[in-house]
């Protein structure tokens, strides 16, 4: 049967439509694929805004932060026990001025809000320039072109302990760091010499003068001071000795005659003491230099360095803020004459008070270091919590068995050793280590103390350095005692 022209057209059309459907299948597949990828992108951006953006834009390199200051009045900085240590006031012309009610006491901690910013004013800048006050007040203020009240920053630092530490240091230069070993919360951060943040313009003028150009008052010694660790380093030498002699370290014995020459280096005990026969624990308690130089001479250099680096020497510290790295120079190629000084914390080893606090904190916390932090929460002006910062574990610096041995040895320091004259008869127990670090050959020295109270379940860790002990006679252990007393009062 013959098809008509019209019928042929329709059949052909049908055929073409069928072909078209076949050809369209891949197009549909690809279209779904692309739409799916774009849905992922869409979801990713929302995820970014909800969960990532806040922490990313808090980056101090984000120049947009400062433009918030045009519409927001910078929030306060408040201690964990409710003392306002930085606050703002805005005059009728919309000019905001910053003031620091406790002046010098919190100088390095709060930092300053001009000249490039420092301290909490820098690290918490973003939070204090955000306003989370309720929407009605915000709109009202926006319409009346008034600045909104920024969120308040609640620091982990405790006013009572900070003032105890500040007063204990008195006229001496030095630094104090106090932290909670099981959380990493920093309770005290003092550095002297200090300055009045209310008068930062004057400070800056002073720094420009010839006398001021030598000054280090802006340096936060707690985190940026590089000190020889002195005898506090014996704790690390001890740890390395235990690691290399896990079975027989208790058999260690040394006959101290006041001095001995190791690889051509004359090591003598402080103040001409002669300690006689000592166990390992006695050596630490007495802070016997000769005994520790002896221990050092037995150590494996490579392993010694590994232990030091495991304790964060020569590496970045888990701390958000300005700090200096600590250094430990012994390695496989070191010569034996470098060892005796290093073993007793002299030589080229350098550490900051913060880092020493972190090591003591890890010991107190069963070997696990909690990341030290300074900001515990952000609250809006009505006191409602906007953001909470929780403690984070950094990792294990030593095993809990090793930490237990160190605690046991450090208790001896306070029980009958070099710190016993400060801590005997106290209502609390202390484990710690004193240190006297000479910084030149004329007998000028700094006094250290690291340690913690209630060694069975440590409450607070203290790291103190007091400069120029030979002049003022203020020791690190004495300063630590004042802080412990304030804490247990």
């Amino acid at each position: 049967m013959q098809l008509t022209e019209e019928e042929e057209f329709l059949l052909k059309e049908k055929e073409r439509a069928k072909n078209n459907r076949i050809k369209n299948k891949p197009i549909i597949v690809i279209t779904y694929l692309m739409v799916f990828i774009f849905m992922l992108l869409f979801g990713y951006i929302i995820y970014f805004m909800q969960f990532k953006a806040e922490s990313i834009i808090a980056n101090s390199r984000n120049i947009r932060q400062d433009s918030f200051a045009d519409v927001v009045e910078r929030g306060d900085i408040i201690t964990s026990d409710g003392e306002v240590i930085a606050t703002s006031s805005t005059n009728e012309d919309g000019v905001t001025t910053r003031s620091y009610p406790h002046g010098n006491m919190f100088a390095h901690l709060v930092g300053y809000d001009s000249y490039g910013k420092a301290g909490l004013e820098l690290s918490g800048n973003f939070y204090m320039l955000r306003s989370h006050i309720n929407i009605f007040e915000r709109i009202y203020r926006q319409l009346s072109e008034e600045k909104n009240r920024g969120d308040n920053l609640i620091t982990t630092v405790n006013y009572k302990l900070q003032s105890a530490a500040y007063n204990a240091l008195g006229v001496c230069n030095g630094a104090v760091v106090v932290m909670e070993p099981d959380s990493g919360r920093i309770l005290v951060m003092v550095s002297k010499p200090d300055y009045d943040p209310n008068n930062i313009d004057g400070v800056w003028e002073y720094l420009k003068t010839e006398e001021g150009s030598e000054s280090t008052i802006l340096l936060n010694r707690a985190t940026q001071g590089r000190y020889a660790p002195g005898s506090t380093f014996k704790v690390i030498t001890l740890l390395e000795y235990i690691r290399e002699n896990p079975r027989d370290y208790l058999d260690y014995s040394y006959e101290c005659t006041g001095n001995e020459i190791f690889s051509g280096v004359d090591i003598h005990c402080i103040g001409g003491s002669v300690h006689g026969t000592e166990s390992l624990k006695d050596s630490l308690a007495n802070s016997c230099n000769a005994s520790f130089a002896k221990i050092g001479s037995t150590l494996d250099y490579k392993s010694y360095r590994e232990t030091a680096e495991q304790l964060l020497f020569n590496s970045e510290l888990p701390f958000d803020g300005e700090y200096v790295k600590s250094s430990f120079v012994i390695n496989e190629d070191s010569t034996p004459d470098q060892i005796p000084q290093t073993a007793i914390g002299q030589g080229d080893t350098k550490i900051s008070p913060l880092h020493n606090a972190m090591i003591a904190s890890a010991i107190a916390n069963g070997g696990v270091l909690m990341k030290p932090y300074l900001i515990q929460a952000i609250e809006n002006d009505d006191g409602a919590t906007i953001k909470k910062f929780s403690s984070k574990s950094y990792g294990e610096l030593m095993t809990s068995d090793e930490a237990d041995i160190l605690i046991d040895n450090m208790k001896a320091v306070a029980d009958y050793g070099s710190a016993s004259r400060y801590f005997s008869g106290c209502s609390y127990d202390v484990a710690g280590k004193t240190g006297t670090a000479e910084y030149d050959d004329d007998g000028n020295c700094n006094s250290w103390f690291i340690g913690f109270s209630n060694p069975d379940d440590p409450d607070i860790v203290i790291s103190v350095i007091v400069e120029d002990y030979q002049i003022y006679g203020v020791s690190g252990a004495w300063v630590a005692k004042q802080i412990f007393d304030a804490y247990y009062q």
């Binding site: 049967m1 008509t4 549909i28 739409v35 992922l40 992108l41 990313i56």
Partner: protein, 473 residues
């Protein structure tokens, strides 16, 4: 008072942006002619409202008379173009012209905010482009030989692509040698060659019936990508490659070409990366590193992406408001990073809607390709749909750290003479194919009606019935 008006205008702009986006999808999913016509009219109103509110903010904040003048000229050109275009091409797709106007006007807003003289330059070239490209649908519809010139597209394309290596003509920018300079005008040949490339592949695929022909086609296509790799223009190489793979898959209907093509691409990229990461692709290495953690490399390769994320995050969902952010501090914010500038000052909601509009434009291109019954035009329309969506993905994904950044523009929004003109060409070619579709559909309806009446007149049956009966016998 200015603050109040600007705040209100910002939120109204966001509102109409959302409405516009919704309409894009409503129009595509509805078949009702009258309803669509009313929705298309509403869309135009929304575009002009978004444009108005944003220029109001710009004028109030910057207080410059020239902004008002510029605003007026833009509105005039937009309205004039739409009226003239639709009266010349009665069968043209209004959704396409609406979206074209939308993208251009959004681009003008943010460019005026970032750099007034660039905005004017963009406007001038776009207007010239609109004029020239308004002839393109005519060419597409009338010129039947278009599909037979595969070799010409191939040769002209590769030669044009290689002009960047001619000393004195070609030059490098942002680490890629993919620019030429003619007088005071800088152009990226790749932007135009990608159009030739789609024509080339479409034309070859229509004719290629054997594996051998497919293979030769693949070799020449690889030539294009080879030149792009040597130019170090990896974003373009990726666009070309994916377009090629997708078109081969559509032409052959065999999923193996899609899977194989994508695997081969991933394999080649990984191998090239591992082999040449320190030499030829050192700049790619930097970008991958910057993508993984831009903040750790903020002073080197991660600077742009860090700034972009700061901008998007700080602006927030509603945006800082035009001129109140620091969009100017994002590197190349008027071109590659324009989406970050939009998000910062006009709001992430605006940006998210923009992404949806871009997806809807892609789908409307795809719809044109699906309706098309002639393979050549089908491939061409789908090829351009692919180019459009992949380029948008590389741009949007790059600036949001979704994927490593490759340095391509956001079509019709980013500043760039080559980019804007080539995208206008792409839109009008698709418009041309759409006109062919509409004409054919009308012709088909007419023929069908005639066939049925003729058959009925003869007392016969329509073929479908006869076929069924034939089977029974």
């Amino acid at each position: 008072m200015v603050n109040l008006i600007c705040e209100v205008a910002k939120y109204l702009s966001l509102l109409f942006m959302v409405l516009y986006t919704v309409k894009c999808f409503v129009i595509m999913s509805s078949k009702d002619q009258d309803e669509n016509s009313s929705n298309l009219n509403k869309q135009i109103v929304y575009v002009f409202l978004i444009h108005f509110f944003n220029f109001l903010i710009l004028y109030l904040r910057l207080g410059q008379m020239k902004i008002l003048v510029f605003y007026g000229v833009q509105i005039f050109v937009a309205i004039f173009y739409m009226i003239v275009f639709h009266s010349i091409y009665k069968d043209s797709s209004r959704l396409l012209t609406n979206n074209m106007a939308f993208l251009l006007l959004i681009g003008y807003i943010i460019l005026t905010r970032l750099n007034f003289s660039l905005a004017v330059k963009q406007f001038l070239f776009a207007t010239i482009g609109l004029f020239i490209t308004s002839f393109i649908p005519l060419v597409i519809v009338k010129w039947k030989k278009l599909k037979d010139m595969g070799t010409v597209y191939g040769i002209v394309g590769i030669v044009f692509l290689m002009t960047v290596f001619v000393p004195g003509l070609g030059f490098s920018n942002f680490g890629s040698r993919n620019w030429i300079r003619i007088g005071s005008l800088s152009l990226q040949p790749m932007e135009f060659v990608k159009i030739l490339f789609v024509f080339f592949v479409a034309s070859m695929l229509v004719k290629a019936n054997t594996i051998k022909e497919l293979f030769i086609n693949a070799l020449i296509s690889a030539g294009f990508m080879g030149v792009l790799v040597i130019e170090k223009d990896l974003g373009a190489a990726v666009i070309f490659y994916i377009t090629y793979v997708f078109l081969v898959y559509v032409a052959t209907s065999r999923i193996i070409f899609l899977i194989g093509g994508v695997s081969l691409g991933v394999g080649a990229v990984s191998a090239a990366y591992l082999l040449f990461k320190d030499s030829l692709f050192a700049h790619v290495m930097v970008r991958v590193e910057a993508w993984r953690d831009p903040f750790a490399h903020i002073d080197t390769g991660g600077y742009q992406v860090s700034q972009s994320l700061f901008a998007i995050g700080t602006g927030g969902y509603a945006g800082s408001g035009l001129t109140l952010g620091k969009a100017g501090s994002i590197p190349v914010s008027e071109s590659d990073f324009i989406f970050s500038a939009i998000c910062e000052e006009m709001g992430v909601i605006f940006g998210l809607c923009l992404i949806l509009v871009i997806v809807s434009i892609f789908i409307s291109f795809v719809n044109v390709a699906m309706k098309c019954r002639r393979p050549f035009y089908k491939y061409v329309a789908f090829g351009f749909a692919t180019i459009y969506i992949i380029q948008s993905l590389l741009n949007l994904g790059g600036v949001t750290k979704f994927i490593p950044s490759t340095g391509v523009t956001l079509p019709l929004i980013s500043y760039g003479v080559s980019s804007v003109i080539s995208t206008l060409i792409i839109f009008t070619i698709v418009q041309g194919v759409s006109i062919i579709n509409n004409k054919e559909a009308a012709k088909y309806e007419k023929e069908k009606a005639r066939a049925i009446t003729l058959a009925a007149d003869r007392g016969g049956r329509i073929p479908a019935q006869r076929k069924r009966e034939g089977k029974k016998q």
